[in-house]
């Protein structure tokens, strides 16, 4: 266990070390200020503006901003869909992959545009290199940029006073992609290649033993897949595949990349709010939930599979073997790293995996499932994690504010009926998609036929799929056969609801807050940077999550755990 915790603390330390400079940098980039990258990328930025016919400093109201985001994402869905349909006739297709079925193409297009990166397909057996690059890699960048600009718009709403605009969506998207995502991805990609991650346009290789080794330009996609909390693997086995994630170090890079931007955005929030403590408070709330979740998963997985009791199998953790519950895990990572990675990837809405969550112990699998159901706000997706957490902060501030006898305020902005309405919608819609989706599936015979594990675990598989899709995570209880029209269309719908059903209310709140006056802080104001508020925030997130999903969880992982133990 010590070994597991040492690795966890190294990970957290590195995340912090990167977030501290990266946060203010992101704030600077999105304020349109000059950075050290401008001499190189500045001309590209200006060139794009000229072609677009816009000025970077033109402010947009929230509706125009929302439409820009929607239009941009609709184009993305269309492009990825068409690429899959046409890949057979396009270049960079050494394996001669044919066109992809319509339901699967639609699912994949929506999945990558919504930052879900759910894989109903097997990368190496379905998609051409061109589709992977021009479709998937591009959406890895653009969906990440979308998340970041939305949260920045929300922060602007909080900070601006009696203003109509919340920024320029086009400039925000371009700046985020050019100055934040691209340079970091390039660095991560090269680091990964140094460890053995593939980066080649060569076709697959056949060994003397007859083994066929799939190849491809993996590192460039894997880098942004982690950095943008996308999670869609180049290969079917995702980051468990040795060609994506070959060593302990590459694994650490994977994990740190997932949390870098979500953590940095918290600090960017503090920078933009001109009160760093606000950013740290939000991050502290995330960290508290993360560490608690990590402890449960690590403990559960290290104990091993209770189902193997009575067999002559040694599941003990020792220096000679990683031990623990090793089904669906890789030896080079061990159960400890698998637990850490699973907690990270589901805290953030990444969804990349280095082990199959389906084969996790019931409690070890419950934690990732519940982390997604909390709304992916524990660091969460790039941007989406923070805006989700800020929605919970609004709810926390509202109840807390009432409890101290004042109309609730957050950062000097009064939280009133409109904000509560939008926050309720944003929290309600994903819950509805998850619960209704699961309910329909378990009553629909063809959907039930996709279930691969018996008993309560089968139910968990379906619940996990809808939770993952709706919260734009993308990880799976992979035993469920989801490449069917029901799941392809159903889950795609959930992804859209989970993505835009939150983004639109968030932008509406941003617009409404921007118009409001600023109320100066006083002793009577509920402080939102103290440990007490961190506690309130954690409480709100956990309580809403627990109350919404406890019945479902009782019939899934809890029943399985209590039966199996």
């Amino acid at each position: 266990m010590t070994h597991a915790w040492i690795q966890s603390f190294i990970f957290l330390g590195l995340v912090l070390a990167i977030a501290v400079p990266l946060g203010p940098f992101i704030a600077k980039v999105l304020a349109g200020e000059r950075t050290f990258l401008h001499p190189v990328l500045g001309p590209v930025e200006r060139g794009l503006y000229r072609l677009m016919g816009i000025r970077g400093d033109e402010d947009m109201g929230w509706k125009a901003y929302a439409w820009a985001i929607a239009a941009f994402n609709l184009l993305g869905i269309a492009a990825v869909f068409l690429l899959q349909k046409a890949q057979g006739a396009l270049p960079l297709n050494p394996e001669g992959m044919g066109k992809v079925a319509t339901d699967l193409s639609f699912n994949t297009a929506v999945s990558f545009t919504t930052n879900t990166n759910w894989q109903a397909y097997g990368g190496e057996s379905t998609l051409s290199y061109l589709t992977q690059m021009l479709g998937l890699t591009v959406q890895n960048f653009l969906s990440a940029a979308t998340g970041i600009v939305v949260v920045v718009a929300l922060i602007r709403g909080l900070m601006r006073r009696s203003a109509l605009g919340i920024g320029n969506a086009w400039a925000d998207l371009v700046r985020t992609t050019l100055y934040v995502l691209l340079p970091l991805s390039a660095i991560i990609a090269l680091l990964l290649v140094s460890q053995g991650t593939l980066q080649t346009f060569a076709a697959s290789v056949k060994t003397t033993s007859g083994q066929v080794l799939a190849m491809g330009p993996a590192a460039s996609q894997v880098a942004i897949k982690m950095l943008g909390t996308n999670g869609g693997g180049f290969f079917n086995a995702n980051s468990a595949h040795p060609f994506e994630n070959p060593t302990g170090l590459s694994n650490l890079i994977h994990m740190v990349a997932i949390f870098s931007i979500p953590a940095a955005l918290c600090l960017a929030f503090g920078t933009m709010a001109k009160d760093r403590r606000q950013g740290w408070a939000v991050m502290a709330a995330m960290a508290v939930i993360f560490v608690a979740a990590l402890s449960v998963t690590t403990w559960a997985e290290a104990k091993g599979n209770p189902g193997l009791k009575g067999l002559p199998v040694n599941q003990m953790v020792s220096t000679e073997q990683g031990g623990g519950n090793m089904e669906g895990k890789e030896v080079r990572f061990g159960a400890a790293n698998a637990s850490l990675f699973a907690t990270i990837t589901t805290s953030a809405s990444c969804g990349a995996v280095i082990a199959w969550h389906d084969s996790f112990t019931p409690l070890g699998g419950l934690v990732p499932l519940w982390l997604m159901q909390l709304g992916e706000v524990v660091f969460g997706g790039v941007g989406s994690g923070l805006y989700g957490m800020l929605l919970f902060a609004l709810v926390g501030v509202f109840i807390g504010g009432l409890m101290v006898g004042r109309t609730p305020e957050y950062l000097g902005k009064k939280i009133e009926a409109f904000e509560m309405k939008m926050a309720s919608i944003a929290i309600l819609l994903p819950s509805a998609a998850i619960l209704i989706g699961t309910a329909v599936a378990v009553l629909h015979a063809p959907a039930v036929a996709s279930i691969s594990n018996p008993g309560p675990h089968g139910f968990t598989q379906v619940l996990y799929a809808f939770s993952s899709a709706t919260q734009n995570n993308g990880s799976a209880f992979g035993g469920l056969s989801v490449n069917t029209p029901f799941y392809n269309y159903g889950l795609a719908l959930c992804m859209l609801v989970g993505r835009f059903g939150v983004i639109l209310p968030v932008l509406a709140i941003a617009g409404s807050l921007a118009r409001k006056k600023y109320t100066p802080e006083s002793v009577g104001t509920l402080p939102t940077h103290t440990p007490l508020f961190v506690g309130v925030l954690v409480g709100v997130v956990l309580l809403i999550g627990a109350l919404t999903y406890l019945p479902a969880l009782a019939l899934g992982p809890l029943a399985e755990h209590l039966t199996l133990r």
Partner: protein, 195 residues
């Protein structure tokens, strides 16, 4: 309402070219120069032939070689094809799934059959399927478990085999990252060499 079609199209196409073409091309070019071997799969070559990749495990089932992790990958025909490098994946069996228990029991039986004298508890990684189906490693304990069988099959002293295992055992990277591993393909190649 201003539909903003021009900025939308330009932004989308411009960024597609930058992130979908320029960026992968740049990374591929740089990798080719800086890390040519790693970028192309860390292949093990012998006399122009590719023996395999040091990162990808291969299927060994005879008594004279160390066995890797059980792999549940399937071939293009949907039939089991362990260590299929063109279609990675795991079992996704739940801990509560009786099929998992049965699979483990079968693997135990196979190991016992291959070496009836070895009666100790079996290291868990040797009876559970890996995530990728391509796991190149087993734990040092799993290697040790097989030393007796391999030495016997090859008529080598156990000490010599154990020594070879030790040479191919790597601790956690930098002493902390990940678990200790033994690369099965490299170990078996070394064994074949030793003969």
């Amino acid at each position: 309402m201003n539909l903003q079609l021009r900025p939308a199209l330009v932004a989308f196409l411009g960024l597609t070219v930058i992130t979908g073409l320029a960026y992968p091309a740049l990374i591929t070019g740089l990798s080719k120069v800086i890390f040519p071997r790693q970028a192309e799969g860390s292949l093990i070559r012998k006399e122009g032939n590719v023996l395999g990749s040091e990162l990808i495990g291969q299927s060994f089932t005879d008594a004279a070689h160390f066995w890797g992790r059980p792999s549940v990958t399937v071939g293009p025909d949907g039939k089991p094809l362990p260590y299929n490098g063109a279609n990675s994946g795991g079992s996704n069996q739940a801990p509560s799934n009786p099929a998992l228990k049965q699979a483990v029991e079968e693997r135990i039986a196979a190991l016992r059959a291959a070496d009836p004298e070895q009666q100790g508890p079996i290291p868990v990684d040797l009876v559970t399927a890996s995530a990728s189906g391509l796991d190149p490693h087993i734990s040092p304990a799993a290697a040790e478990y097989q030393v007796h069988r391999v030495a016997k099959a090859r008529n080598l002293p156990e000490a010599q085999v154990r020594d070879l295992v030790r040479q191919h055992t790597e601790g956690p990277q930098f002493g902390v990252l990940g678990d200790a591993t033994v690369n099965v393909l490299k170990l078996n190649l070394a064994l074949d060499q030793a003969k």
